[in-house]
Each structure stands twice: as structure tokens, then as C-alpha cells.
Amino acid sequence: MTAAVDCRGVSVRFLSERRSVTALEDVSFEVAPGGFMSLLGPSGCGKSTLLRVVADLITPSEGSVSVLGTTPQEARRARALGFVFQDAALLPWRTALQNVELPLEVGGRRSLPQGAASPRELLKLVGLSGWENSYPHELSGGMRQRVAIARALLGGPRLLLMDEPFGALDEITRDRLNEELRRIWMETGATILFVTHSVYEAVYLADRVLALAAHPGRVAAMETIGLPRDRDLSIRDTPEFVAIAARMRAHLGHGAIH
């Protein structure tokens, strides 16, 4: 079975005013189809850059990336991937429903694939039935992120890329959305690549965590999370979870001055 995401020796360099900045250096990893991987690291470790390389928003300076057995560009054109941004990136002049429908109106006229969930069904999936006609400024931060997730799920993408989607939310809302994201992951069967700087979030959500170190961004460790597939937030209080989290923190702390 080909990997959902396969990065081989990816490096990204940006040219700034006087010098070139290495955002990522020789990063290799793969994500199995249907897997949930967290990209964990401090700010400046290039985890968002890595996600953008997979989404074909940034072309790597070196290395190769394959997404769902093809190039990132092909995967993007085929709408095989959905992207959820740090701020929900909703269009303020569109209602929640119209925002979810946006992908049908751009990039060539598209209709939903056979059997794919409708925009209304997706809003229901993220728990927003009854809010279809609300404008983004009428929704809370958590609800806006739910709309953004529904939009990213439209058309049933096989890969969901999430860039710190819950980073700006309060902890209580973040916890609830973490639980719901695991439910959505199991219901849709999509592969998820999730960027975060929270150790707890990374370990709770994923079945594998890729820890990145900063300056330059490089792989610090890759850990498979041996927690049961069916888990709720209470698992964070178990000794197993605490041990994994402590190990992850040790990986991140290694050689870091932050």
C-alpha cells in the first residue's frame, strides 16, 4: 500500500534580504493511509512550512514529496486534500453554509462526487445544524473553526492538512474540538496531518507524532503512540499518556534554548 504522504529529504530555503534562511533541512517521514500524524515543535521549527510543502503551497528546494501516490500538485488539482488554517479563513460576506459551499464554486465548476456528504450534512457533522445562515462575525472562534473543518471536508478529501487550527481557542473549547476531531477522523477515514505546538494535543490526537527541532527545522524524533484507538480526554490522566508526553517533551527539549 502506498503511503498517503511520503516526504524524502525535504529542504526548504527562503531568501531574505541578506542571507538565505533554512526553514527545513532534510526532513523525511511518511504517513500511512488513514493515519493521524501530529507535527509537533516550537515556533520557527518549520512545521507550518512542511504542511504547505505537502499542500503544494511551497515548492521544496530539495527532496521529493508524494501525496496519495502522486505529486502534491496533482493531488491539489484533484481536490484530494483539504486544508484548515490557523485563523478559520472564512469569507466574512458569506454565511456558514455559503462558506462550506465555496469549494464548489471555484477551481472549475464542480459537483459533489457520488455519495459525498452535502454542505448541510457536513455542518451537522461538525455540530453546527441550525447555524447555516449565520455570518462568521456572529459565530464564536470555535464555531468558525468548525465551519472551516466542514469546508475542508467537502468533497470527501482523502488527506486533511490542519495548521494549528485550535491554537487561538480557549482550552475548554480546544479540548472539546480535539475529541470531536478524533470522532470525525474515525467517521470519515481520512488521513490527517495536524500541526500543533501543544504536546498534549499532539499526543492525544495522533497515532504517530513527528517532533521537529528548530533552527534549522529538522526531525527530532518520530514516536508511535501506543494508546487505544477509542480514547476520550480522560486518557490524558493515565500513566501511559503522561509517560509518552514526558518523552515527547524530552525530545523537544534536547538541544533547545527556547
Binding site: R52, A55, D56, L57, R76, R77, R79, L81, G82, F83, F85, Q86, D87, A89, L91, P92, W93, L102, P103, E105, V106, G107, G108, Y135, P136, H137
Partner: protein, 285 residues
């Protein structure tokens, strides 16, 4: 005995607190109504006292009518010469509205070109700024020489005066798009025209309307100033004529007609804005 009394108190408590709540709500609503009424009445009182003061000053100091008219004289002129005032408002209104449409349309088109071709913006934006630094009163004679004494130079002046604020605002509105929304469009493989119509243009609408509201009043100013130079009809011509005739009542009546038109124009644009911009712009929160 005491037990019984306590029971009765407990039973009555919720009803009493519900009553109190309702009374508080009513008091709150009544105070809001009073506030609303006050907000309407106070400006009216302000305007009325200003007019009274004006009337009193003219009477007490025996100001001659060729210096300043009494408010009564202005009202009398407004009524008596209403047909003349309206006949002169018509050309000014046509010039202001045509100039408004032309100037803003040109600004929107050029802003669109600037956003898509950065080199054109870098080459021609300084020229636009340069033209904008010439005062209207200096531009008007140049255009009258170029375009003759008809409506054309007045429309051109009104258009020029609208052009600059709309161009600047429109460029900013088209460019200040949320970068993550742009990335989203890229992920969705949106074409440049889709990005323009679905994202940039909509994003620019609140900016455009704040420029249009400024343009609504400046277009009228432009038309009036242009009429000062060798024109025989229009609000601007009427202002010059009544000044030379020392007909202060007519001068004031003309000014009132001109600014009333200006206010109505502004209100029309505000109405359109309410119709088209129903969301709260992203930079507002």
C-alpha cells in the same frame, strides 16, 4: 407557627423575584425609549437655538440685508424663488452625478489594473498623486480652456475630485486580503478571475463605500467650484451672481439648496452601502 410562616415565605419568594425582574425590565425599556427620544430631540434643539441666535444677532445689531440676511428673509427667498433655485440645481446635480459615476468608475478600473500589474502602479501612481496635489480652483480654469464652457469641464472636475480617494481606497481594499484566504483559494485551484471576483472585489466593498461616501459630497463641491468660472447656470453661478448683486438672502438660499442636495446624495450612498455590505469587515474585529 414559625414553621408555617417560613413555608409561605419560600413559596412566595419566586413569584416576588419574578415580579421584581419584570419591573426592572420595564424600567430598563422605558429608560431606553427616553434615551432614543432624547437623541432625536437634542439635535433639533441645537439647530433651532442656532437659528434663533442668528435671527437675534441680525435684529439686535441691525445688520443690513446686503451683509447678512435674517433667517426669515432666507425662508421667504427659498419659497418665492424656488423655481429659479431648482432650475439651477438641475445642471449642478447632473454634473455632480455624472462626474461621480465617471470618476469612481475610472478609479475602480485603474485600481484593478494596478493590483494585477504592479509595474504600472509603480510607474503611474506618482503621476496620479501629482495631479491630485493641484487644487481644484487651479484645475478648473485649465479644464475650462481645454473643454469649453459647457457641462464637460464641470463633469471633469467633479470626476477628478472623486477619483483619487476612491483609487487609493480601492487599491487598499483589493490588496488587504487575508493571506490565509488567498492560500485557501490556491489549495482550491481557483483561477485569477475567481480570486478577483470571489475574494478581492468583495473584500474591497467596505473600502469602496467609505470612499464613495466622501466622493458624494466632494463631487458636488467640484461641480459648484467649476461653475464659478464663466458659467451662467448652476448653483455655482447663482452663488457668484447673488454675491455680486449683494443679494445675501438669495446667496444663503442657494447655499442651503446646494448642501441639501449634497446631504441627500450622501444618504443615498449610505443606503446602498447598507444594502450591499451586510457583513462586518474582517478588520473591524
Amino acid at each position: 407557627m414559625t414553621d408555617l410562616a417560613t413555608h409561605a415565605d419560600i413559596a412566595a419568594a419566586p413569584r416576588a423575584s419574578a415580579d421584581r425582574l419584570r419591573a426592572e425590565e420595564e424600567a430598563f425599556l422605558a429608560s431606553q425609549r427616553r434615551d432614543r427620544l432624547r437623541r432625536r430631540i437634542l439635535p433639533a434643539i441645537g439647530v433651532a437655538s442656532f437659528i434663533l441666535l442668528w435671527a437675534a444677532l441680525v435684529t439686535v445689531f441691525k445688520v443690513p440685508p446686503y451683509v447678512a440676511p435674517s433667517p426669515q428673509a432666507v425662508v421667504a427667498t427659498l419659497v418665492a424663488r424656488f423655481d429659479v433655485l431648482m432650475a439651477n440645481l438641475l445642471p449642478t446635480a447632473i454634473e455632480a452625478i455624472s462626474g461621480f459615476l465617471l470618476g469612481n468608475l475610472a478609479a475602480i478600473v485603474i485600481a484593478t489594473v494596478f493590483v494585477h500589474r504592479k509595474s504600472l502602479e509603480q510607474a503611474f501612481f506618482p503621476v496620479v498623486v501629482l495631479i491630485n496635489t493641484i487644487p481644484v480652483v487651479a484645475k478648473a480654469p485649465i479644464l475650462v480652456l481645454l473643454m469649453g464652457n459647457g457641462m464637460e469641464p464641470k463633469i471633469a472636475i467633479a470626476a477628478l475630485i472623486c477619483f483619487f480617494p476612491t483609487l487609493v481606497n480601492m487599491v487598499r481594499g483589493l490588496e488587504s486580503v487575508n493571506p490565509q484566504a488567498l492560500e485557501l483559494m490556491r489549495v482550491l485551484s481557483a483561477s485569477n478571475s475567481e480570486i478577483f471576483f470571489k475574494l478581492r472585489l468583495m473584500n474591497a466593498l467596505p473600502y469602496l463605500f467609505s470612499a464613495l461616501k466622501i466622493a458624494a459630497s466632494t463631487a458636488v463641491i467640484g461641480a459648484i467650484v467649476a461653475e464659478w468660472i464663466g458659467s451662467t447656470t448652476g448653483i455655482g453661478a447663482l452663488i457668484i451672481q447673488s454675491t455680486y448683486n449683494f443679494d445675501s438672502a438669495m446667496l444663503y438660499a442657494t447655499v442651503i439648496v446646494g448642501s441639501t442636495f449634497s446631504v441627500l446624495f450622501f444618504l443615498a450612498i449610505t443606503g446602498l452601502e447598507r444594502l450591499f455590505v451586510r457583513w462586518r469587515p474582517a478588520n473591524a474585529h
